[in-house]
């Protein structure tokens, strides 16, 4: 008797619906065991992770703040991935956007520049992110270079460029040599939505991006082209769709969104440019994109869910003295189960009984 994983004739819509729920159920079951082994009350721990952060306005704001860059970047990435273009370098585009936008903020510091500063920063950041993403895209369509490698390598270039700027020319003269620019002026700062909180305009922009992506994919010909090129490249060629053009387009959009997320993070919660502005948002967003099934609404939910585990993990650390590493294990287990369960949408297990006659025939 043998257990075989075989491809389904067509995708199972039932499993597609049930799979995330099963994954979350399995994660919770595993975590209960893990908490019990650690000697923590599993119910209280799960409460700290999942429920407590949802019960007060402060934590809800923090979830939105944390999810904002993740969702924005993931939306852009999903367009790339749908079109079969593999942008792995959103982290670099995020950093370049942050740098480009900060340029205006640094140059206008202490002057009486007006309300044009922030909008210019946002536009410039998006443009810079798009241009930066075009490098791997053009290398792919012109020279056939693997965009996975080139986009990834450009992350380190961006990282070091930012590093150079804040250690050298843009360093805060009164910052005791610490690698950071001075705090941005109020006109160069993303406005807060709630007095005393940290929720900022960026979260609204992220929601608009989600809506725009949903319209693009669901209602426009371009969106249709993106999906067809990814799902059925041959059909797309027969249909006269230009795959190269779509690679360039989706890379540009995704770079622009990552760049925008970068400047919003810097001009929002951080308030100045420094190394370490991104705890790996560009990479975490790849997970968010797939967790959300490359669907705008799904990405919004996935981004919020991942943000919830960050905030919940912190509260579990405070309330239950559960080490930070458990939070990371927890995120890992969640992703593992989601991907494992998702594979049953296209595949299924089958018990295979060896056929005696065939077996005899081979002797």
């Amino acid at each position: 008797m043998q257990l075989v994983l075989e491809k389904r004739a067509e995708r199972s819509n039932t499993i597609a619906l049930v799979s995330p729920l099963v994954a979350i159920g399995l994660t919770i079951a595993t975590m209960i065991i893990l908490f019990a082994i650690l000697g923590k009350n599993p119910l209280l721990a799960l409460h700290a992770y999942f429920i407590a952060p949802l019960t007060d306005g402060y934590s809800l704001q923090e979830i939105a703040v944390k999810a904002t860059p993740l969702v924005m970047i993931a939306i852009g990435l999903s367009l790339c991935y749908l079109a079969n273009a593999w942008n792995i370098g959103a982290e670099g585009q995020f950093l370049i956007g942050a740098v480009a936008g900060s340029w205006i903020a640094v140059k206008t510091q202490g002057t009486d520049a007006g309300a044009w500063v922030l909008p210019t920063m946002l536009v410039l950041a998006a443009a810079a992110g798009a241009l930066y993403a075009l490098i791997p895209a053009i290398c792919k369509v012109k020279f056939g270079a693997s965009e996975i490698l080139t986009s990834l390598m450009l992350v380190y270039v961006a990282d070091l460029f930012l590093d150079y700027l804040v250690r050298g020319p843009w360093r805060d003269p009164h910052g005791f040599n610490f690698p950071t620019t001075a705090e941005f002026d109020p006109v160069a700062t993303v406005p807060l939505l709630i007095e005393g909180g940290r929720l900022h305009l960026g979260s609204i922009i992220a929601l608009l991006v989600v809506a725009a992506a949903a319209i693009l994919l669901g209602r426009t010909i371009k969106g249709f082209e993106i999906r067809v090129v990814g799902a059925a490249p041959r059909a797309a060629r027969f249909g006269g769709f230009n795959a190269d053009q779509l690679v360039v387009l989706t890379f540009a959009i995704s770079g622009a969104l990552a760049g925008l997320a970068g400047i919003i993070e810097v001009a929002g919660p951080v308030g100045h440019l420094q190394p370490g502005i991104s705890p790996g948002y560009g990479f975490t967003a790849i997970i968010v994109a797939f967790l959300g099934r490359l669907n705008p609404l799904g990405i919004l939910i996935a981004g919020l869910l991942l943000a919830l585990t960050f905030i919940g993990g912190e509260q579990a650390q405070i309330a239950m003295k559960i080490p930070l590493d458990v939070t990371k294990v927890f995120q890992g287990i969640l992703l593992f189960y989601v991907l494992a369960c998702d594979s049953f949408i296209l595949y299924r297990f089958r018990l295979v009984f060896p056929n005696r006659q065939v077996a005899r025939g081979t002797h």
């Binding site: 610490f178 993070e265 190394p275 705890p279 650390q317 930070l324």
Partner: protein, 358 residues
Amino acid sequence: MRKSLLALAAGLLLAGSVSAASAADKLKVGFIYLGPVGDLGWTYQHELARQALVKELGDKIETTFLENVPEGPDAERSIEQLVRAGNKLIFTTSFGYMDPTLKVAKKYPNVHFEHATGYKRNPNMSTYSAKWYQGRYIQGLIAAKMSKSGVLGYIGSFPIPEVVSGINATVLAAQTINPNIKVKIIWANTWFDPGKEADAAKALIDQGADVIMQHTDSPAAMQIASERGKLAFGQDSEMIKFGPKTQLTSILDTWGPYYIARVKAELDGTWKSEDSWGGLDSHMFAMAPYTNMPDDVKKIAEDAQAAIIAGKLHPFKCPVIGQDGKEIECKGGDHLDDGQILGMNFYVKGIDDKLPGK
């Protein structure tokens, strides 16, 4: 099974009221850590101090820490989470938490904050640090005596004044023994990254350094020096077990007495915003035993330590000559004053390198 589940559920419901009751009895004290509690360096020493605090005042206080908090956008949230969890005195234990701590401090005037190694204060935000340059001076003497090649290797973290003053103190001391001493500096651009620290140590040894000193937090450099048969100084904590034949001494951060004093003040209601910058005399830090050196070198180190404690020896005794050959203005009488050391942004003469960003 059913019963225990019910009990758990009841516990869950009661949790809020129970914790509120205990919070009223005990003072809640929070800590923000840069690294993991097991970094065996900077964060570990803060954690040891927290444990000492609990041992001393455990019946009156309840402590909480958040570890691995990056010095970026997440720090402000982490500090605020501690405030919202009811902590009334919060220690933020790295320079990079300065602005986030100040932001949260301004928002919650009734909570008291203690920020390590920074320079911004508020009526409810103190700063505390140690005069580590005194320990660096002693290390400089030992290093110059012990080095055969006359080349010292120095792993810097960030070129902030605290680190720069440490390099200068080391070199000024070493020059009193060997006027031609050379120091090679590598900036790791991190406080804690064992891989990078090990690479830096290897590169320094390859460049001829035979005594390794560090301003980063892990014992990685000590291990490399030990493998290569060189000598090294520990950092923050006792690292002798990583180099029993390698460690000369180590600057030990001993925050315990300070934490206990500040928490007692909070309990008495006498806490107020201060700037504490303690040296060897005030036990803000200590030197690990002088090991792996001949008795005469040990004596030089011990004499220097005694002279510093007695106030007879100041590492930045005037005249201090800058890299450009010009004498640094002497604002503290016969030595540089605290402000000049806290804002130190120049190399002394004899360092054959350029200060990053200069």
